[in-house]
């Protein structure tokens, strides 16, 4: 693994953490290098694996019989793909971006980076072990809780070893003012351990009866996205839009309201995935209310993000800003889709169809991943003190991501729509649209290859000379 060894080299090069000739901000960046690079490298590897598995699964829908290996049949490939996307790429990248934003905004140096590195290694080791078990068919069958029960408490402990430093940075900050990005990161790193531990307890340690398992699993699955990944993604957008446009966030005073609505409503919105299921009716209703009310914080986010972007002077399009702006649009679309699918009539027609998959892709690829890429494109050059080797690859990544995500969402969304309208005789349409989804996923994979190639080249580059001017920090 050349990437892994070059990560080790970079870590070794960054061993002496304090360098007197660096400014405070640069020292903060520098101190985070080990943790951020380990997390980033794992995120990149899992991203490729997950994209490849997603493609393998999708191809089987229109070319049945393509894959004969038991370990890669549709169901198993999907298990692995979703675990690697959630716990591999998204979680690692979110931790990297979250840690960096918390330390940078608090102007706090990371003092015990090795603890976070250890936590990150443990997390990814447990994930790899869990994936081997999934390859053998050892899934629990519950969405977002597929990994074997033994991994639960261990992964929470590893998460705390990494994520708690963001809370520490918040507590020890050297700045009088607190920014929206900081609350969001705090929410993410505090929510995941509670979510994961409670869900594991209710499903494995004190197994709950009957359909209660489905309620807990829905609460966890939605919380993982809405209370862990989404807050970090929003933090990256809140951080990058004003940074890169040079404009203050518009209607910033509303962000507090949006934040609290966002975290309380997402905690309940999981129940919207159970409309029509054999669970108590009031639970379904609370899910409908929460999911539709999420439109309120989404409107505030639109005032904050799109409002600021509209005022931004033309010609200030850094790669990070492009990704962050696209992620902000993706966020709005996702909440809109969630609200529509969570109405009683929307659910009656579209639940269980490909529209739900399309919504998942919109959330994870069209919002979370774009925001995390924005964060990584911004922070990695600062942390490593190197420039991205190829601007062309960054641009290619951006366009391929947009094209691939839009293509997959539209193809699967259209298929779900047709399925709801005409339940029979869809074979030809389904084959064509599934093929379109596969092409889109291949485009997405190509985009991610561009990102990983650029990242590998960045890690292989020599660090810029000591005396060189630090990267511009507006």
């Amino acid at each position: 693994m050349s990437t892994v060894s070059s990560v080790q080299q970079v870590i070794r090069r960054h061993e002496p953490l304090a360098e007197p000739n660096l400014g405070r901000v640069a020292q903060v960046d520098h101190s985070l290098a080990p943790a951020v690079l380990v997390l980033g490298a794992f995120a990149a590897l899992w991203l490729l694996a997950s994209s490849l598995l997603g493609l393998v699964a999708s191809l089987q829908l229109h070319l049945p019989g393509l894959v004969t290996a038991e370990a890669l049949t549709y169901g198993r490939a999907r298990d692995l793909q979703s675990v690697l996307l959630n716990y591999g790429w998204s979680a690692n990248a979110a931790l990297a971006v979250g840690l960096w934003v918390a330390h940078r905004l608090g102007r706090v140096e990371s003092r015990h980076a090795w603890v976070a590195v250890l936590g990150a290694l443990g997390w990814n080791l447990a994930l790899a072990w869990g994936c081997l078990s999934l390859l053998g068919g050892g899934t629990t069958g519950l969405p977002s809780l597929e990994l074997p029960r033994e991994t639960g408490p261990f992964m929470v402990a590893c998460f705390l070893a990494v994520g708690l430093w963001a809370a520490v940075a918040f507590g020890r900050r050297h700045t009088p003012h607190v920014f929206a990005a900081q609350w969001h990161v705090l929410a993410a790193v505090l929510s995941f351990p509670v979510l994961h531990l409670l869900a594991h307890a209710a499903i494995h340690a004190y197994p709950s009866d009957g359909v209660l398992q489905a309620i807990v699993a829905a609460w966890h699955a939605h919380g993982f996205l809405g209370l862990f990944l989404a807050p970090v993604a929003l933090a990256a957008i809140y951080y990058l839009i004003p940074k890169e446009t040079g404009r203050p966030i518009r209607g910033y005073y509303l962000a507090t309201v949006a934040f609290w609505l966002f975290v309380t409503l997402h905690a309940w919105a999981g129940a919207a995935h159970l409309i029509g299921s054999p669970v108590p009716a009031w639970i379904q209703s609370s899910g409908v209310v929460a999911a539709i009310m999420l439109l309120v914080p989404a409107i505030i986010a639109a005032i904050n993000f799109q409002g600021t972007l509209l005022q931004a002077p033309r010609g200030t399009r850094s790669p990070s800003l492009r990704f962050a702006a696209a992620a902000a649009h993706g966020f709005l679309l996702w909440i809109l889709a969630l609200a529509l699918m969570s109405t009683r009539s929307g659910s009656a027609r579209f639940r269980f169809t490909e529209l739900e998959q399309a919504q998942g892709i919109l959330a994870l690829h069209g919002f979370v991943a774009l925001a995390l890429f924005a964060g990584l494109y911004y922070l990695l050059p600062r942390v490593t003190r190197r420039e991205w080797p190829s601007k062309g690859l960054v641009a290619a990544h951006y366009w391929l991501c947009l094209l691939g995500t839009a293509g997959a969402v539209l193809a699967l969304g259209a298929l779900g729509w047709f399925r709801a309208a005409a339940p029979s005789d869809l074979a030809e349409t389904a084959r064509a649209l599934n093929a379109a989804a596969s092409v889109s996923l291949a485009i997405l994979l190509l985009g991610h290859l561009a990102f990983v190639a650029n990242l590998a080249a960045l890690l292989a580059l020599p660090t810029r000379a000591r005396g060189a001017a630090p990267l511009s920090d507006r």
Partner: protein, 206 residues
């Protein structure tokens, strides 16, 4: 919004309330649920699944079936499941009380299986369908679970699959495809999935 303790307290409160609300209250509400008689003197239902079916559930899980098949029939007001023939009555929480893992599922690339045991009553059909789903429906996108079947000398094979003539995977002369232990368990599990009984809260239509 600048106190770590206040923000954390707010977050934990919000998460704790939602967990208590969604999980704990429904546990309190439903913990008394047990198999019941639909009418006086009737059998207690749902009944325990036979041992072979319990083993088959692990095969169902391991093959990732849950990614394409749900096991829940929604009421007529919340979907067209009953019209599609997925079941004669909606699923209710009581149907699941004896299951140690509830696989409601979230995606229907294939049909719902809550009542599949009522619709498909032939082991032979289910085995052929698992071996090659395109035998019955040329346009099916279901994976072929051929790894659940093995070739045996035809003379010794008791329950050989009778593939249609000219099938691409036809067994060589003197040999026959027979279901492995796992295939037998899986089919037993599928046949055990039935909501063909009434419960106090969900009666079968007359």
């Amino acid at each position: 919004m600048n106190k770590l303790s206040l923000i954390s307290a707010g977050l934990f409160l919000s998460l704790g309330l939602s967990f208590a609300g969604l999980a704990l209250t429904s546990q309190a509400q439903q913990s008394g649920l047990a198999p019941a008689q639909a009418e006086e003197g009737g059998p207690l239902l749902p009944a325990l699944a036979p041992g072979l079916a319990v083993l088959g559930k692990d095969v169902y899980l391991a093959q990732g079936c849950v990614h394409c098949h749900t096991q829940q029939v929604r009421p007529a007001s919340q979907g067209n499941d009953i019209a599609k023939g997925y079941g004669k009555r909606p699923s209710v929480a009581r149907d699941y009380v004896l299951q140690d893992r509830v696989l409601l599922g979230a995606s229907r690339l294939g049909p719902d299986l809550a009542d599949v045991g009522t619709r498909r009553t032939s082991d032979e059909w289910l085995h052929l369908h698992l071996f090659d789903p395109r035998i019955g429906d040329a346009a099916s996108s279901k994976p072929a679970f051929r790894h659940l079947y093995e070739l045996r000398p035809a003379a010794a094979a008791k329950s050989a699959l009778s593939l249609p003539a000219g099938h691409a995977a036809a067994a060589p002369a003197g040999q026959a495809w027979v279901p492995t232990e796992r295939a037998i368990q899986l089919v037993a599990y599928l046949r055990s999935l039935r909501i063909d009984y009434s419960t106090p809260e969900a009666k079968l239509p007359e």
